[in-house]
Symmetry: C2
Subunit: 629 residues, 2 copies
Amino acid sequence: MTARSAVPVDLATAAELAAQLRVDSIRCSTSAGSGHPTSSMSAADLIAVLASRHLRYDWDDPRSATNDHLLFSKGHAAPLLYSVFKAVGVITDDELMTGFRRFGQRLQGHPTPVLPWVDVATGSLGQGLPDGVGIALAARYLDRLPFRVWVLCGDSETAEGSIWEALDKASHYQLSNLIAIVDVNGLGQRGRTELGWDMDTYARRVEAFGARAIVIDGHAVGAIDQALTAAEDTAGGQPTVILAKTVKGRGFSMVEDDPNWHGKAFPADMADMAIAELGGVRKLVLRGPRPMPSSIPATVTAPAPTAPTEWPTYTVGHSVATRKAYGDALVALGAQNHRVVALDAEVSNSTYTDEFAHAFPERYFEMFIAEQQLLAAATGLNVRGYIAFASTFSAFLTRSYDFIRMGAISGVDLRLVGSHAGVEIGADGPSQMGLEDIAMMRAVQGSIVLYPSDGASTVALVEAMAATPGISYLRTTRGAYPVLYPAGEAFPVGGSKVLRSTDADDVTLVGAGVTLHACLRAAELLAQDGVHARVIDCYSIKPIDRDTLAAAVAVTSGRLVVVEDHHPEGGLGSAVAAALLTDRGTGLSLAHLAVREMPGSGSAEELLAWAGLDADHITTAVRQLLQKV
Amino acid sequence: MTARSAVPVDLATAAELAAQLRVDSIRCSTSAGSGHPTSSMSAADLIAVLASRHLRYDWDDPRSATNDHLLFSKGHAAPLLYSVFKAVGVITDDELMTGFRRFGQRLQGHPTPVLPWVDVATGSLGQGLPDGVGIALAARYLDRLPFRVWVLCGDSETAEGSIWEALDKASHYQLSNLIAIVDVNGLGQRGRTELGWDMDTYARRVEAFGARAIVIDGHAVGAIDQALTAAEDTAGGQPTVILAKTVKGRGFSMVEDDPNWHGKAFPADMADMAIAELGGVRKLVLRGPRPMPSSIPATVTAPAPTAPTEWPTYTVGHSVATRKAYGDALVALGAQNHRVVALDAEVSNSTYTDEFAHAFPERYFEMFIAEQQLLAAATGLNVRGYIAFASTFSAFLTRSYDFIRMGAISGVDLRLVGSHAGVEIGADGPSQMGLEDIAMMRAVQGSIVLYPSDGASTVALVEAMAATPGISYLRTTRGAYPVLYPAGEAFPVGGSKVLRSTDADDVTLVGAGVTLHACLRAAELLAQDGVHARVIDCYSIKPIDRDTLAAAVAVTSGRLVVVEDHHPEGGLGSAVAAALLTDRGTGLSLAHLAVREMPGSGSAEELLAWAGLDADHITTAVRQLLQKV
């Protein structure tokens, strides 16, 4: 059968499809010389019945707003997913056989959105389901569309806490449009899983977290079909978890349930035997149901703003915390653009995201203390085209670093805001101090790292973040400091501001956030002694304004002081150094003031002085530089 | 009553103690002007009964091996913990009133091991219980001592997936010596928790994860005492979770169950009212039970090695993967020192930690796919004096960054090993490639970052890690590359190796790991054209060998090529730049070759070439530097 059927695919054909998916998973991985055929084979029946009879998807229009979503949280089952793509006719058998895991090809070892039918990159386990929660949130609360979100999970990945964060939020938000299918083959990479085939324990856990559990034989197409049909009944208001007891390597008796065949392609002779046992190569091309019709446009677009945006303004010289300015700006942004949404991990009254939550409660999602799910929900919301701002303490974004990293691979737009940066927070102590966040965020491929020093620049940068694709990070400060710039001043990403300069400056001072204020004070102190300091507000740490920095150090004979409320590695000083180092012209004479020891509690002033980041330490550093020949 | 009682404290006295703990929590936070009195008050009865009647602890010898352990996973209840310290007489009322949250004092905003009675730093929620799992693992499987691990948890933090990773592992390892006490006051920082006082759902979740759940009124001292007594019965082989329904701010009617009083000290007038309502200031000094006697020494010490260590050796020029050499070295280390233990997150057959698991199964702990618990277990094992090596893919260590950061605050020794670094891994694609790990690990306060290029240096560095306190990280490579050094060569932390040099070198090439081999090939190619390249193996990235680098660039007129299989931010290039930048003498002319775009699948060779990290790209970079004047 090669024709595309318009009538529903029957179960016998679905079983044939399952055999084809197994055969093709074997063929493509053997062809590539690596991959995960056995992990694909355990889930082949599940996915065959899903793809042929339940997944409502317009394969010719993967961006259609009413398509169901299909995520492979067990991303290593990529051969199975790609075999589905072949079976529905969107990739050729030739691409499957010559493209999988090859350099420059799109059928990568684990799925990424380089493929138009893939929403998010997976392969770091325990992320697909949390991402699916974000998509399902969008469907239920924002899109208000009847599509479903299907997520194939492995059993091993249920050891990840993020899976339980996801189910917790899915039940809290009554995401009956979310269906997880857990392929319980009982084997992990290195042997038996913790729970093996203890389906009762899986069911108890899932139900305790508020989901409906359906336990089935994952190789009985009839049972699978009944379970998927049951899952489509959303009346109960719960997410559904189908717990499918399966056998790894199912269909090839030589490897079934063998713990030694994880992540290994079969040699050619074994592949031939397997394909023979599975009944040979098939050429089914068939598609499942089409999406439900919907009245909304097939492509998600943002509505035009209904009124001129009233951005918050602050009086120069008055004190405002940048975290507060962020909250204010987010409300303005939300009024301007109805696709702006916000999330926070139980600290919205500290990050000031609560201003948005109060203004637009229908576009605010509380993630409670679950920073991994915070990132995953933002990811899923962005998959549906929403402009999601996710905030927590900058220190606690470290909890979600793997999700941020994977977000970059997914190519999603994530707007992250970390408050309470540095020792400046004071009495709460080091556990609450973000001191690694700039390093962490700079190292993310393609990221943007912003660190405003006052209210006006914060507002401008929040506006810029909304318009900027990719992963951007805004670092905010706990305390209130003087407004430096008038409202409306431009702060382009990649720019900087020279706040003090003469034609004959002696030294360049570079700060951002709280340290910029110390640089300004230091410059005043130095001026009393006739020392001229150029002061640069390096609000855009990545990309960084290389030209302005280079021009400054050229004037100041290479003398440069960089001051940051962050550990010395990977932060502002590192960014400035990287920008200037490729320039052979000027030997640099750099003093890098950063937090080099473990802080404790104290006041902001005490701790900034202890760390050597205050005006006195800056002036001392300048005098030492000036004494060098 | 001011005398220390040797007889068991009765329940009426325990209730009095609870009132004192509330009063003192209020007094110290009001005195400091910040802190979390209401979060302390909800748990005061629980902790009063625990500390006075159940916690077996020699307060004069906090390092005693047979002491119970008490962890405040809800670290913000520090006022309560410090009030206990006063009640047992190890700190004075004066310290409590003048030291809490003050600069330079040890009673920090959240507990840290600066205090001898604190095992681990808490304050990033959801970490104390996972850390406790590590301590309980040590007790049950290594120490074989009857002490118990008591962990006070908040209800809000049960939203963290790490709590469920912890309970999962606690039940898997039958840690009946672990007792979590969850203070279910129903309020988080910004309002009602997800589950409020839904004790049934908490109990179902806890039981589904294999723990015994005991639901009580957390303010009824009799019920608390019964629950703690029941928890001490370890016959069931399960961890116990006491779910205590409590009221935030309990004891001061004006704030009880008020969502607006999280993390706020009472003003002085309110504090006076609260103290009056609680019956005034008390001066109880009393202690609970002493530890069980034990036959083992009171201080954990390592046994002397029983035989000379046979370190693995490799023939120069033969190929071996550094991940394999790590596995080999760990086995040798395990034979040398019985306190060496290992953990892995379900990839031990990729990291080669499985060699240790096979050699010393009683000292290997499988954490399955739970990287947060992996780090927390290593933390807890180190609290008990074990030398724990924890391994997974370098990419997946990002999952546990918050735990690594907190480990630094805890001052524990963590030996982390991340395999499959960089694009070198090839076909599996970007989700499996560690490309941010050096930046992440360098930014940890006091950390050590090591990146060997061959088998001999790997063995030496594993040995060095075992002897090095603090947090150290070893980055290993997937593929096999030629052994460069003879067995027994010394590789001190902070050192480097000059593999090629003349007195008139034209350029310095710096590599580590896989890129060192490319540098060596490039140097050979350049030599054919009469260009002399000095090649440095920068195996110690933090601390870095500044002197050797500075001497090299002095010879090569500042010309320097740094090559790393990592993103450009925060990695080897950043470390080299930071080392050389403070030197005004030489203008640097740096070419920094790193992974600047998003990789896909391919072979190691294809991807290293694509990223510009192979010998051809290095020689091109050198020629460009030489053309500059």
